[in-house]
């Protein structure tokens, strides 16, 4: 009896935690840890560090999942404004590392752009919630302005990876909020045509002396090396070429845990951060990749399911956007490591090393769980 009451008393700890999300997350974290151990070549110190990051992320997730979603909704605007002011502060007094002004020293160093990944969908979801029932076309215009301001600030730092994620997060909200298809379809077509154009005329537009409009020369170079990594095997193409070799040489069953030669002989750059997927892929092969794709699909499916049945517009939009951001992380990262997309600094969610990204992701999962809990509360 004593035990049972203890369990009952303890039940607030897991009450409302979504079991399927929890299991998927646990699987991803286990996969990530195993891979990380190999990527860091068994150096326990960094592994412990990563363990600390994971615990931190889980804590954030847990705390967030306890927070009633109403509260989040209320602070959305303030979080957004706070994020914007931090970004402005970065632009004015930020620290410069590796040629980019991304960090702010407020006693400890933070990267404000990271906050915007969640603050952005919160803000837009809040806005559409405010306008629910009266949404007009110009509302989308206003939402776009809210979106473009931080995106441009981040892109200017420059931090293309985060800018893409923030932009995507905002766009997901706008599209889910019901942006008419006639505004979406032309952009989709334009995008497809652009990609086709680059694929077909890649050789001539990447020829020496050709400069593209709009894009910076280093961005042009990145796209060109993507089209043909062997054109610059020791320079910009090195990362992609080596990670493709790692993936390809893994074959169907992989080289086995801790046996990836590309990894252990230092051919994979950023092997425990952005390129950790190459390590995983080399050691666990095609079978391992399918398993990982399935895990991500399950995660997204569950997230979208939560969003689809969420109680109000704010939670639906936020849940949907957060889930799709997980997808964007995973797709862009795996696409870039396997040579489908240009190299941008986007980690593989729950697997890449890095405290900030993990915390953000934990926060995101926490939001989904909170939404799910709130829904049950509403239903009961």
């Amino acid at each position: 009896m004593e035990n049972r009451t203890l369990i009952q008393r303890m039940s607030f700890l897991w009450y409302g935690l979504d079991p399927s999300l929890g299991i998927i997350l646990l699987c991803l974290i286990v996969v990530g840890n195993i891979t990380f151990l190999s990527a860091s070549s068994g150096t326990v110190v960094t592994w412990v560090e990563q363990g600390r990051n994971i615990l931190m992320a889980l804590l954030i997730m847990w705390v967030t999942s306890r927070v009633p979603i109403k509260w989040l909704e209320k602070v959305s605007l303030w979080v957004y404004l706070f994020g914007i002011s931090l970004l402005v502060a970065v632009a004015l007094f930020g620290q410069i590392k590796k040629g980019a002004r991304r960090w702010l020293n407020i006693g400890f160093v933070i990267q404000p752009s990271e906050i915007m990944k969640i603050a952005m969908p919160m803000m837009l979801a809040w806005y559409f919630q405010k306008r629910e029932g009266f949404i007009k076309l110009w509302d989308f215009g206003i939402a776009l302005c809210f979106l473009l301001l931080p995106t441009l600030l981040i892109a200017r730092q420059p931090d293309l990876g985060t800018a893409i994620l923030v932009l995507a997060a905002g766009l997901y909200v706008i599209i889910l909020a019901g942006l008419p298809w006639r505004f979406i379809v032309p952009f989709l077509i334009l995008g497809c045509v652009g990609i086709l154009f680059i694929l077909i005329f890649g050789d001539s537009i990447c020829a020496k002396g050709v400069t593209w409009p709009i894009l910076q020369s280093y961005q042009q170079h990145r796209i060109c090396t993507l089209l043909d990594p062997s054109s610059d095997p020791l320079g910009k193409g090195f990362h992609t070429l080596q990670s493709m070799i790692a993936i390809g040489s893994g074959g169907i069953f992989g080289k086995g845990w801790m046996k990836g030669t590309q990894t252990h002989l230092e051919f994979i750059p950023e092997k425990h951060t952005d390129f950790i997927f190459a390590v995983y892929s080399e050691e666990f092969g095609f079978i391992g990749n399918i398993a990982l794709l399935v895990l991500f699909l399950l995660l997204i499916q569950r997230g979208l399911q939560i969003a689809a049945t969420a109680p109000n517009l704010y939670t639906r939009l936020l849940g949907g956007s957060v889930t799709l951001i997980f997808f964007t992380y995973a797709f862009v990262n795996m696409g870039m490591v396997s040579g489908l997309l240009p190299v941008v600094g986007i980690p593989l969610p729950f697997i890449s090393y890095g405290g900030t990204a993990l915390s953000t992701l934990g926060f995101g999962v926490g939001i989904l769980m909170s939404i799910n809990r709130g829904k049950r509360l509403v239903q009961t």
Partner: protein, 638 residues
């Protein structure tokens, strides 16, 4: 404006968008699935290979190149260690252009070095060590060491280079080594593929070739490349991307190249080259019993040491453009009309074919009339009555005009062919040319104009005195003389006598036995030999061979380079390169021949005055070991 014109509620609308989003997500993940399928299943072999060649590096140990030693044990091609400045691109902390510029302020990097380095950089692994400057002297080494901290990735290494201690001596027979060119690399690759060496995998074979630092480009260095090179040793190691060696996978020690023991007597070679001085020409001396080539002279020579590290463009141009053609291997590739040196072979042909007997004589009025054409004899007014022996001794043209007419071209070319005229001798150096043994078939094939293809009877007449279409190498002439001296036994001429195994020191003869034996009658051979002995006793060679202490058979020759079109020959009025070539063939001792020789002095006029004295000195050296005054004594380089 209502954005939800359709009848669906906002929630249903949202849910349909969520479904679309899920489809989109699935489409993207399927795209990734196919990408992985492409990389990991379809292209797996390609990437697996790439990963292996990433992982494995081959560190080669060069095999010391075999020495080239003359018949008396004098080393004439050897290796010397020298300091090289080498760069490992992966370890550099600055761009290559910057590096070259900075290095140049410490040790001189010439534009040529720079070019060579940039060339070797292409297609090389970043972790490979590549030479940027060779032959550093002690001062340069010291200077570099004092600034070494500024150049990570740059090291001083000892490399072995080929050295020819006697400089230009025997340059045409030795040839030279040089850097491995792209063409050489292809050849080496093909060779490796044939060798079926399965100690290393296919992908790694090209790396093994990189251990070969030099290859023979010409001469013996080239034709005995395989023997001289030995086997490059290698250590197959696992490396990191930064080039750090993780562990050794397998290794094989280098095997030194075989030493070549030459048939050539380098002192004789030296003597002959000095006797030529600044004159141009070719000389080949053969030991008749063995086919050993004792001297293989081509004048002028060049310094092969200049080629070892890549020749300087100016020097190359100078050598290549010189009208004296110092790079031209004359005994091997130069063809000359043999002139009167052809007569002893014609005489033997006459006897063997029973066209003449030794005693049968003709009357020489000083010319020979064939149809309406007059063929003149050298001696104005003629030699009067001459038999076969005298015809050789006094070099009577008319005798051989008549003989040629009587024999006809078919009989002449049929007899000359087994003696090696117009045939490859098979000497062990690449690039030999055939020359021209005139025949009806040859002429038909040679001229594309049908009106010129038919053999005219008149064509045969001057063949008899070694002119006309006759065109042979000095090597062929020496070989034919050797066969004559050797009484029909054919030994393949060879510059390398033995190949010495570097491990067992076992020596193998390159030409252990005779090739063929021609059936020649002793009496006929004796008659021709008598005639040739007469040359040096009372004939055209009597002055240079005055007082000779051993019996010697010889024949002078003067070959027309330029048709005089009936005019008298006057050396002074003809430009130097069109003057007659002086030739001489000889063997000694005449009664029991040991040595045979043939030589030409280009554009030097009469054989008796220009060529025979050189032959006399050669034979004196061989027979009596006497060294002519005026030629500096031989000094062996330590």
């Amino acid at each position: 404006m209502d954005l939800h014109q359709d009848s669906n509620s906002p929630l249903e609308n949202f849910q349909s968008r969520i479904r679309i989003a899920l489809w989109f997500v699935m489409a993207c993940l399927i795209l990734l699935f196919f990408r992985f399928f492409w990389l990991q299943v379809i292209k797996h072999t390609k990437y697996s290979t790439a990963s292996e060649s990433n992982r494995i590096a081959i560190i080669t140990t060069p095999s010391p190149r075999g020495l080239i030693i003359d018949r008396n044990g004098i080393v004439i091609a050897r290796n010397f260690p020298s300091y090289s400045l080498e760069v490992t691109p992966a370890e550099l902390n600055m761009p290559v252009d910057q590096l070259i510029e900075d290095l140049n302020s410490v040790v001189r990097i010439s534009p040529k070095d720079r070019l060579n380095f940039l060339r070797s950089l292409q297609g090389a692994k970043k972790t490979e060590s590549l030479p940027i400057r060779n032959f550093l002297n002690d001062e340069e080494v010291a200077r570099f060491f004092s600034r070494r901290y500024a150049f990570p990735g740059v090291e001083i290494q000892v490399r072995y280079f080929r050295e020819y201690p006697y400089q230009q001596l025997g340059s045409h027979l030795l040839g030279y080594t040089g850097r491995v060119s792209l063409k050489d690399r292809e050849k080496l690759l093909a060779e490796l593929e044939e060798s079926q060496d399965d100690s290393i995998s296919d992908e790694l074979r090209p790396m093994k070739i990189k251990g070969i630092q030099q290859v023979g480009k010409i001469g013996l260095e080239q034709s005995y490349e395989k023997e001289l090179r030995g086997t490059v040793g290698y250590n197959q190691v696992e490396i990191t991307a930064g080039g750090r060696v993780v562990r050794s996978l397998s290794s094989t020690a280098a095997i030194a190249g075989s030493n070549l023991s030459l048939a050539v007597d380098i002192r004789l070679q030296y003597l002959i080259e000095h006797l030529y001085g600044t004159r141009r020409g070719a000389a080949v001396v053969i030991e008749v019993a063995t086919g050993d080539v004792l001297a293989f002279v081509s004048m002028p020579t060049f310094n092969p040491n200049a080629f070892v590290d890549g020749i300087d463009a100016d020097l190359w141009k100078k050598l290549n453009d010189s009208p004296e053609k110092p790079l031209f291997n004359r005994p091997l590739r130069g063809t000359y009309p043999p002139g009167s040196t052809f007569k002893p072979f014609m005489a033997l042909a006459a006897l063997e074919g029973k066209f003449r007997t030794p005693e049968q004589g003709i009357f020489d009025p000083g010319f020979f009339k064939f149809g309406s054409t007059i063929f003149r004899d050298d001696a104005k007014g003629g030699h009067g009555y001459v038999n076969l022996r005298q015809s050789i001794a006094v070099s009577c043209d008319t005798y051989y005009y008549m003989l040629a007419r009587d024999m006809g071209i078919n009989a002449i070319s049929a007899f000359m062919k087994p003696l090696g005229f117009g045939q490859l001798s098979g000497i062990d150096i690449n690039g030999e040319v055939k020359g021209i043994l005139p025949s009806k078939e040859w002429k038909r094939a040679y001229y594309s104009d049908p009106t010129k293809q038919a053999w005219g009877e008149g064509d045969t007449i001057s063949i008899g005195i070694g002119q006309g279409y006759n065109s042979y190498t000095i090597l062929q002439l020496a070989q034919a003389t050797a066969i004559l001296a050797n009484r029909g036994i054919v030994m393949k001429p060879h510059l390398v006598k033995m190949i010495e195994d570097p491990i067992s020191h076992e020596k193998t003869l390159t030409v252990p036995s005779e090739t063929t034996r021609l059936t020649l009658k002793k009496d006929n051979l004796d008659a021709v030999t008598e005639g040739m002995v007469g040359v040096n006793q009372s004939g055209t060679g009597r002055v240079p061979f005055a007082g000779v202490a051993y019996p010697v058979a010889g024949k002078t020759g003067t070959a027309q380079v330029f048709s005089l079109a009936g005019k008298d020959y006057n050396a002074g009025s003809i430009s130097e390169f069109k003057r007659d070539h002086a030739l001489y063939i000889a063997f000694a001792p005449a009664d029991k021949p040991k040595y045979a020789l043939a030589l030409v002095v280009e554009n030097a006029g009469f054989g008796a005055t220009a060529a025979a004295p050189i032959a006399r000195n050669i034979l004196d050296y061989l027979m009596l070991d006497s060294w002519p005054e005026g030629v500096p004594k031989w000094k062996t380089v330590p």
